[in-house]
Amino acid sequence: MPRWTNLIQKTLLPFVVLHTALLLAYGWPGGMVPQRIEYWAQAYARPLFHQQWSLFAPEPPACGCHIFMVDSSGEAVDLAGVRNTLVWQRMVSSACRYAEMTGSGEALPQALSGALVELACHAGMPAQCDARLVRTCQGTDHGVEQRVLSLCAARP
């Protein structure tokens, strides 16, 4: 048997076990993994093995989420209504959920505000800086909540 084949055989099992353990530590709910292990798990997993399995967890979203782009005349257009394709709906919905996670007084992360401006451009809207996040709730928090998103302030 060639020496390299022998070496592969000896290192494979530890590699698979270590890989799985690091991915488990990477994906486990926050705060439950020791900090040092979490650091190594992130360093190992994030570049090539990123995964996130917290869909609808710890709580499913309580409210519908829509982003309206506001043009210079003050007219608001729902980004989700621009194209009815799977990818477009997924991008707009993810952007809305990320924006929802940002505190109401905080600026949006640069990448997100940049992505929203790009989406608006692809939707054929003129370059604009104002958007509105609208949350429609039907449960115990029944009602509609609106928040102004300033895209140009945080634009990269």
Partner: protein, 275 residues
């Protein structure tokens, strides 16, 4: 070591078909999915993450279109069982770069496929046997890891534990579960049913009777998420990955069924053309 030829063949076919579909959907969206800004801030120091992001975000959208075409061709070779190991490494790396670039369009299904493509580089060929064996088992473990992590996250949520989670989703106008709104009792049963399914999945697949039952329940669960929660690509990715947990005989049966379907459709196509 058991003969895994049919299982691996079925996985390659189903994963390849899923990839072709996903890449086509991305490709036909034009320049929209290819954002100019990375979701993570890239530091000045050299790291694997910085290098990958720099590469993914240096390419113009037009190059991403061509990357989708090239990866679609590699996926076709995967379906036809003609993809060499070098090709499978290129497919995994290229697909990972595509996912980094279209970060807002990525779902769990796309992530799962990237993770399994990595292990498929090991078992895409039978030789060396030990490498293929380890890759195959690591891919199987990855599927279990997904369910274990999803269960852990949901068990941390008070609404999941109290059984209210699906009722909350039913009240959310973004999803098509409004028909469950008037039935909180059924929602509670469904919520706990989903939790039991997720928690027990990593254990149930080790015994034949429970494995079949859990894979069938999983198929129903994921198809339901496709229809009512708008996650079709995630559902199909999971179904493609279930092929890894089939026995050789089951995988052979599915392959024979698919071959018969293909033959029948080719015959009906030929008859349609002549008439």
């Amino acid at each position: 070591m058991k003969d895994r030829t049919a299982v691996v063949r079925l996985f390659k076919a189903s994963a390849g078909i899923w990839l072709i579909g996903f890449l086509f959907v991305l490709w036909q969206e034009g320049d929209a999915p290819w954002f100019a800004y990375a979701p993570y801030r890239m530091g000045s120091t050299f790291s694997m993450q910085n290098a990958l992001y720099s590469l993914a975000f240096a390419l113009p959208p037009r190059a991403m279109h061509w990357a989708c075409v090239a990866l679609g061709l590699l996926s076709t070779l995967l379906v036809l069982d003609r993809l060499p190991r070098v090709g499978s490494v290129l497919l995994w790396l290229g697909y990972t770069l595509v996912l980094l670039r279209c970060w807002l369009a990525v779902s769990g299904g796309a992530q799962l496929m990237a993770l399994l493509l990595f292990w498929s580089c090991f078992f895409v060929n039978d030789r060396p046997a030990m490498l293929a064996y380890a890759g195959f088992w690591a891919a199987r473990l990855q599927v279990l890891l997904v369910y274990a992590l999803a269960a852990a996250h949901k068990l941390c949520g008070p609404l999941w534990r109290s059984g209210e989670a699906i009722h909350q989703l039913a009240l959310n106008p973004d999803y098509s579960l409004a028909f469950l709104g008037p039935y909180p009792g059924s929602c509670k049963a469904l919520t706990w049913g989903v939790l039991v399914f997720l928690v027990l999945f990593p254990l149930a697949v080790w015994w034949k009777p429970t494995r079949r039952a859990w894979l069938c329940m999983g198929a129903v669960f994921h198809l339901a998420t496709a229809v009512w929660l708008g996650l079709p690509e995630m559902a199909l990715a999971f179904l493609a990955c279930y092929s890894l947990w089939l026995s050789s005989a089951e995988a052979e049966n599915v392959l024979q069924f698919l071959r018969a379907m293909k033959k029948r459709s080719m015959q009906s196509f030929a008859t349609g053309r002549t008439s």
